[in-house]
């Protein structure tokens, strides 16, 4: 598969398997780390350089896609578990956050953290419950979880049921009015994107991450070699859920309302998988490249009259071609094509 180096899995992972020792292993020496950070910094500051709010909105969508895809990559790319319902964390986080803001007057920031916490807790519970399922069974279960949560919230009066929750516009005054609020939330998403990329990097070069990679390659062998697979998988799942939870709160706060049908769109989950696959699963740069390329392709296809109606079919064809011919994605392909890039692309 796409893993670069044989995963050294000699040592058991202590303390439940969660430890970020990336920098001990020298991850920062790789140019890849600085490349990823640099790209996000440059992209993130485009709206400042151009002074354009339209650019800010475009970059907001791209950064959001990048961070969602990067967080999915932790469970999908590193651990090899296909989560078809990853958007459930985004939706649930959004709901918890908006509930706290509208019903209890919490500030966006604490509510966002609670959204992340709620998503993480769900992942923790699910991890205990469904992560022992392998392959297709797990994928099916994640679809089931997303649908179960969506149909439940549709009936759940505390969260507004089918009507959803609305944010009073006056709330934005606490954040310096809507215009400032949009910049604030933009920087929050920017920060989250940086965070998730650093985290992805850290995980990949930690023992914990190596344990995950070994689970992906051969879970039974990893277990025999002493990786505590259940707890490692669970933590990977939790880590991949927190950022989507926080993002959900920010996104729906900005949009001033949330409703079940828009919060748990299974289609969005699939788009995230396409992004990760396109860029290269299991690499740090992959989701970044994949999400950006996918968003760009989408807006191109949408504005081209020929492909407008067929954009979904086109995305499908693209996905099929990747799966059949370039299963390692753009970054993986570049890596195998140009060996010199190994240390640059990670």
């Amino acid at each position: 598969m796409s893993s670069s180096k044989p995963a050294p899995v000699g040592k058991a992972i202590d303390r439940g398997g969660f430890d970020l020792s990336a920098f001990k292993l020298g991850g920062w020496k790789y140019p890849a780390f600085w490349l990823a950070i640099g790209l996000i910094l440059i992209g993130g500051f485009i709206p400042v350089f151009t002074g354009s709010n339209s650019w800010r909105e475009t970059m907001f969508l791209i950064l959001m896609a990048v961070s969602l895809a990067s967080s999915l990559n932790i469970i999908l790319g590193y651990t090899g578990y296909v989560s078809f319902g990853h958007i459930v964390f985004f939706g649930l986080g959004g709901y918890v956050g908006l509930y706290l803001i509208t019903a209890h007057g919490w500030s966006l920031w604490t509510a966002a953290l609670m959204g992340g916490l709620a998503a993480g807790t769900l992942a923790l519970l699910l991890g205990k419950a469904i992560l022992h399922l392998r392959g297709a069974y797990f994928a099916l279960a994640t679809i089931g979880v997303n649908e179960a949560v969506r149909t439940f919230i549709n009936n759940f009066d505390l969260f507004g049921g089918a009507v959803g929750l609305e944010i009073n516009f006056l709330v934005y005054k606490d954040y310096g009015g809507p215009a400032t609020m949009q910049w604030l939330t933009y920087w929050a998403v920017f920060g989250l994107t940086l965070f998730i990329v650093v985290l992805s990097y850290g995980i990949k070069f930690s023992r914990f991450g190596l344990g995950l990679l070994s689970i992906r390659e051969d879970e039974d062998a990893a277990m025999v070699l002493g990786v505590r697979t259940p707890s490692a998988k669970t933590w990977a799942y939790v880590l991949s859920a927190i950022v989507p939870g926080i993002l959900g709160v920010i996104f729906f706060f900005r949009n001033s309302s949330i409703a079940p049908q828009e919060a748990f769109r299974l289609h969005r989950s699939i788009e995230l998988i396409v992004m990760v696959m396109l860029g290269g699963q299991g690499t740090v740069l992959g989701p970044l490249v994949g999400a950006t390329t996918y968003e760009a392709l989408r807006s191109f296809l949408l504005t081209s009259p020929l492909f407008k109606d067929l954009q979904l079919a086109f995305a499908g064809l693209l996905l099929l071609l990747i799966v059949l011919f370039v299963p390692t994605g753009i970054v993986g392909w570049l890596r195998s094509r140009y060996r010199k890039l190994w240390r640059v692309l990670e």
Binding site: N53, S54, T293
Partner: protein
């Protein structure tokens, strides 16, 4: 060293990719509805058009109606909106866009001539929102900032309008909403958003009044509705109204948006034996519900459904459509006239119903539905406000919108001006249609409520009992 240069090159490469991706929606995307050259004209922003007299005429000379330019200077107002050209809301959104485009055609023949001789013309910029929330804010920001939209029209559906309204308020740009019926949007402190549709809370109340007038003895109502924002809003308000009128709500159940099997609901209805069944949601589920009620030969004396009955396609149900009542924002049979306006003591404005219907039919070859009427009316109300304000200054237009109290082909329009519910539609009323058979046995849509607007007597009770 080699590695470093490689690194820098790659960085540059990916950066360009990012930039291409991001810039795609900006220059390439606007589907300019009007002549391209107008885009060059600086959009009129401030209240003092006279001072800019010198700068304007050469732009005006490129206009199709160039003669006008001789008499006064011309200013172009940009209207921005997104339409759902793909995705689930494609059909109703298309009607809305058609209506608005028809208005643009008509207004740009002569423009609006203001008191100072300035001629105001309009151009529209639009994008596809894919019926999904993700891109709405980004697109509206582009509309306001890059395309210089002076006024905004809402997307179709309340969810997307909520997202767009935030942008309208942020940039202080007035937005007229159509196809967005939810009450909540206007009750959260917005100041620049004006609603044309009768709000959801008044969608079905007329059906209850109709039922009362048809059968004073009716006591029990069953509500079966789509478990989604719009229909739930409508039904909870209708339920409250029904209870206040002394009705007993014997059943109140929501169904999933994708529901195709209504058997469980129909069995429950049969068990509850209501005098009337109300609810529905959107076209697909509503028409399926009506069809299955008919197939199961359920005895229902009065059936009122949201959204589906006013659509012409509803007639494809055949006998299952017969007698079904539905609320509509507007119908071609509606009798809003100059006389009606005089009688009600409000100003009449714009084309007559017949003029609108025939112009629409000429342009698109089909009868306009209420989405189309709403789209046209959104332009018309803006036009009226600009005329009343005598200027295109945003604040003046806003003040004029606040003071609007008119009757048009689309009905009455007046906005709430209290801070609690600013912009909520106050005056516009629903009409209620019923599918009936004409002399030749063809299904036709008739307006049965309110009484003043009746084009036929309502059928009651429905003869679905075998």
């Amino acid at each position: 060293m080699k590695r470093l240069s490689l690194f820098v090159m790659l960085l540059a490469l990916i950066f360009t990719a990012v930039q291409c991706g991001g810039s795609a929606p900006a220059p390439a995307a606007p589907a300019q509805e009007e002549a391209k050259e107008e885009a060059a004209a600086p959009a009129q922003e401030e209240a003092a058009p006279a001072e800019e007299a010198a700068a304007e005429p050469e732009v005006a000379s490129e206009e199709p109606a160039a003669e006008e330019a001789m008499t006064g200077e011309e200013t172009v107002v940009t209207i921005g909106y997104t339409a759902s050209k793909t995705g689930s809301q494609e059909v109703p959104s298309r009607g809305q866009t058609h209506g608005l485009e028809l208005w643009l055609d008509q207004i740009n023949q002569n423009g609006i001539t203001l008191a100072d001789g300035t001629v105001v013309k309009f151009q529209a910029v639009t994008y596809d929102d894919e019926s999904a929330k993700e891109r709405v804010q980004s697109l509206y920001t582009t509309l306001v900032e890059q395309d210089g939209a002076n006024f905004l029209i809402s997307p179709y559906s309340s969810g997307l309008t909520d997202a767009a309204a935030v942008i309208a308020e942020t940039y202080g740009t007035t937005m007229i909403t159509t196809g967005a019926a939810s009450d909540d949007t206007y009750k959260k402190g917005l100041t620049l958003v004006y609603q044309l549709y009768t709000p959801a809370s008044r969608y079905l109340t007329g059906a209850i009044d109709l039922l009362a007038s048809l059968n004073p003895d009716a006591k029990k109502i069953a509500f079966v509705y789509e478990n989604a924002k719009f229909s739930t809003d409508v039904v909870s308000a209708a339920q409250e109204y029904a209870e206040s009128k002394g009705y007993e709500v014997v059943l109140s159940e929501g169904y999933d948006s994708e529901a195709t099997d209504f058997a469980p609901f129909i069995n429950k209805i049969a068990a509850a034996e209501p005098d009337a069944v109300m609810g529905g949601g959107h076209f697909n589920d509503g028409s399926t519900f009506a069809r299955q009620l008919h197939e199961k030969e359920t005895s229902v004396e009065f059936l009122a459904l949201l959204v589906a009955p006013p659509e012409l396609d509803f007639a494809e149900l055949g006998d299952a459509a017969l007698g079904v009542v539905g609320p509509s924002q507007w119908e071609p049979q509606a009798n809003y006239t100059q006389e009606a306006a005089d009688a009600a003591g409000v100003e009449w404005y714009g084309p007559t119903v017949a003029d609108f219907v025939s112009a629409y039919q000429d342009k698109y070859g089909e009868e306009p539905g209420y989405h189309a009427a709403g789209g046209f009316a959104s332009g018309l109300v803006l036009q009226q406000a600009i005329e009343a304000a005598g200027s295109v200054d945003p604040d003046a237009v806003r003040a004029a919108l606040d003071g609007t109290n008119i009757m048009t082909f689309y009905g009455n329009v007046q906005f709430n001006t209290t801070p609690e519910a600013h912009g909520l539609q106050e005056a516009h009323e629903m009409v209620y249609v019923q599918w009936q058979k004409d002399a030749d046995g063809n299904l036709v849509k008739q307006v049965v409520w309110p009484v003043e607007g009746q084009s036929a007597e309502p059928i009651y009770p429905l003869a679905q009992i075998p």
